[in-house]
């Protein structure tokens, strides 16, 4: 009899354990992350100032969005971000290859190369704004040294976005570099030596022997970079506020402006939903690989 209750107690524990172990994390995550996604989708079908009643407008917000020139500019800029930020994994790989040596002090040098990544984007934005400043920036000083007139990068509607992307490439390249460095150090040395014996060197070696072994690092570097590019907000808020004339705007920042400055929550939400849909492609891609690993 005693054995029986003990057994039941154990059974009960096993059934209940997942419930109470998951409860706090799940509740918080559901209330502040999962449910708000659903709510935003719902809000995007309404007109709402953030106060009072919401008015159902169906797909009106989306129709307006697709004919809004600001939306087209922001979307195009997001694509520029996405494409150009992929220079970070490439640059990171080359810096990692360059640093993958055993000379004295290399450990310290590696960490110094990495350290832009830990600095917050507000500071990075401030530094680069100052670099680009046409009166007192370093770039202006370089231009003057060559006798040229400094270009106000961030005040130029064709260049502002690229100036901001460059600022973001700095920490992101550092991040990708560290992923590749870890990959390079944990690489199978025998495969490399075998490749050498087979006469592979330089580019051939890199492309056929080294890169396949770095697949894991490349995967994470690309996923994290893409997500970061789509979420980009901080640097735009700090360096240009989307200007001049909205030319450096991106979806995330446009969404913020529409909802908090223009009090158009429904319209803002619809921008966020579009951003979410774009991201879903990449999230699915990542989840598939994770779930496949589970099987």
């Amino acid at each position: 009899m005693k054995k029986d209750t003990e057994y039941r107690w154990l059974r009960l524990q096993f059934t209940l354990a997942p419930v109470y172990f998951l409860a706090p994390a799940f509740l918080l995550f559901a209330v502040f992350v999962l449910w708000p996604v659903v709510q935003s989708i719902w809000i995007s079908f309404h007109e709402w100032s953030g106060f009072g009643e919401m008015t159902w407008v169906g797909l009106q917000n989306y129709r307006e969005l697709f004919s809004d020139p600001d939306f087209h500019i922001s979307l195009a800029n997001n694509i520029r971000w996405l494409v150009l930020m992929l220079l970070a994994p490439v640059g990171g790989l080359f810096i990692a290859l360059f640093l993958n040596q055993n000379v004295r002090g290399i450990r310290m040098i590696k960490s110094l190369f990495f350290f832009p990544f830990v600095i917050n984007l507000v500071v990075i934005g401030l530094i680069f704004s100052w670099f680009y400043n046409p009166d007192l920036g370093l770039l202006a000083a370089v231009f003057r040294a060559f006798g040229a007139k400094p270009i106000p990068i961030l005040a130029n509607e064709h260049l502002a976005t690229y100036g901001i992307i460059l600022a973001n490439l700095w920490p992101q390249t550092a991040y990708c570099m560290i992923l590749y460095l870890t990959g390079l150090t944990s690489m199978n040395a025998q495969v490399i030596e075998a490749g050498r014996i087979d006469g592979a060197f330089g580019w051939t070696m890199l492309w056929n022997v080294v890169l396949p072994q770095l697949r894991g690092a490349t995967f994470i570097a690309v996923v994290v970079t893409v997500i970061g590019a789509l979420r980009s907000f901080d640097l735009i808020a700090i360096m240009t506020s989307g200007g001049p004339w909205g030319s450096s705007n991106v979806l995330a920042y446009m969404m913020y402006q529409e909802s908090l400055f223009n009090f158009r929550m429904g319209y803002g939400a619809s921008i966020a939903v579009i951003l979410f849909l774009i991201m879903t492609v990449f999230i699915t891609f990542f989840l598939r690989s994770v779930v496949q690993n589970e099987r």
Binding site: F21, V33, S111, L121, L206, A252
Partner: protein, 285 residues
């Protein structure tokens, strides 16, 4: 090793390598060097436009004292706010995620893969989509513009990444340890606190430093969930002070250095844990 180890090459190559290494490092860190140097410049340099030459006077103490003087700027308050927001968020996110990660890794129940996938997916969501509902929710709870809003939100949001991270780490632990503790009569809580927690300590350290930098460096949520000086963290505070200091670039630089220092220190002190965390425990193939 790839590329070819430098010690196997000729002497000139080695020399060139070292020089290149040094030059590249300087160029790479130029923005940081510039801001450090500017943060010790006196007003004379700023007025005369000497931003890039050698400082004519060193005003390190004065500049930093000015920035930290509560009578002159709320920077100290912002700094304290950041600490109050970051530390509890890191601890709570880690603790709740360790529990969730434990059960997701060890217990076989229906829907666990789905739950796990949800934590990962939520972590990758463009967080701007959460802004309107989260603001409304905090407004209804009367917590908008308080430190609580940021603490609660950061804890909740980071749970996604932290659970993903810790579940993987726990799933790689030898199950035999858990089994033997159970045979000795440990409850599931007992297994978690006495077997799992000590074993995942390195992972907790890695995760801790990562979450610390993520939360410390947050700007978006600071901007959207708080307004008053009493609740502003340092990232948002710095951006706000920039207007007040306008062209006092030496003060802006000193403020930037202060805003950057905690994560830099955490990184240099706990470097190995940090990198292990960042590479998801060494980029598995």
């Amino acid at each position: 090793m790839f590329p070819t180890p430098i010690e196997r090459t000729t002497v000139p190559t080695r020399v060139v390598y070292r020089v290149a290494l040094f030059v590249l490092l300087i160029l790479w860190l130029l923005p940081m060097v510039a801001i450090l140097v500017t943060s010790v410049r006196g007003n004379a340099d700023i007025i005369s436009g000497n931003y890039w030459g050698w400082p004519t006077e060193f005003k390190m103490f004065q500049n930093y004292a000015e920035v930290f003087n509560p009578a002159r700027s709320p920077m100290l308050q912002y700094f304290i706010n950041s600490v109050i927001i970051t530390l509890p968020s890191v601890f709570m996110a880690i603790f709740f995620s360790a529990m969730a990660g434990y059960t997701l890794a060890i217990h076989r129940f229906r829907g666990r893969i789905l739950l796990y996938a949800m934590f990962i997916a939520g972590n990758f969501v463009p967080f701007q989509i959460l802004m309107i509902p989260v603001r409304t929710l905090f407004a209804n709870l009367d917590l908008l513009d308080t430190l609580w809003a940021l603490i609660i939100f950061h804890t909740s949001f980071q749970i996604g990444f932290a659970t993903f991270f810790l579940r993987n780490f726990i799933a790689d632990l030898p199950m035999a340890l858990v089994e033997s503790a159970r045979i000795e009569g440990a409850t599931e809580m007992g297994v978690f606190f006495r077997v799992i927690m000590p074993l995942i300590r390195p992972a907790l350290a890695s995760l801790g430093v990562l979450l610390f930098t993520f939360i410390w460096n947050d700007f978006f949520w600071a901007l959207t969930l708080v307004q008053s000086d009493a609740a502003r963290p340092i990232t948002f505070g710095l951006q706000a002070l920039r207007g007040q200091w306008s062209i006092s670039w030496n003060l802006i630089a000193a403020g930037s250095v202060i805003a950057a220092i905690p994560s830099v220190v955490v990184f240099f002190v706990l470097q190995r844990q940090f990198i292990a965390g960042l590479t998801f425990g060494g980029v598995k193939e």
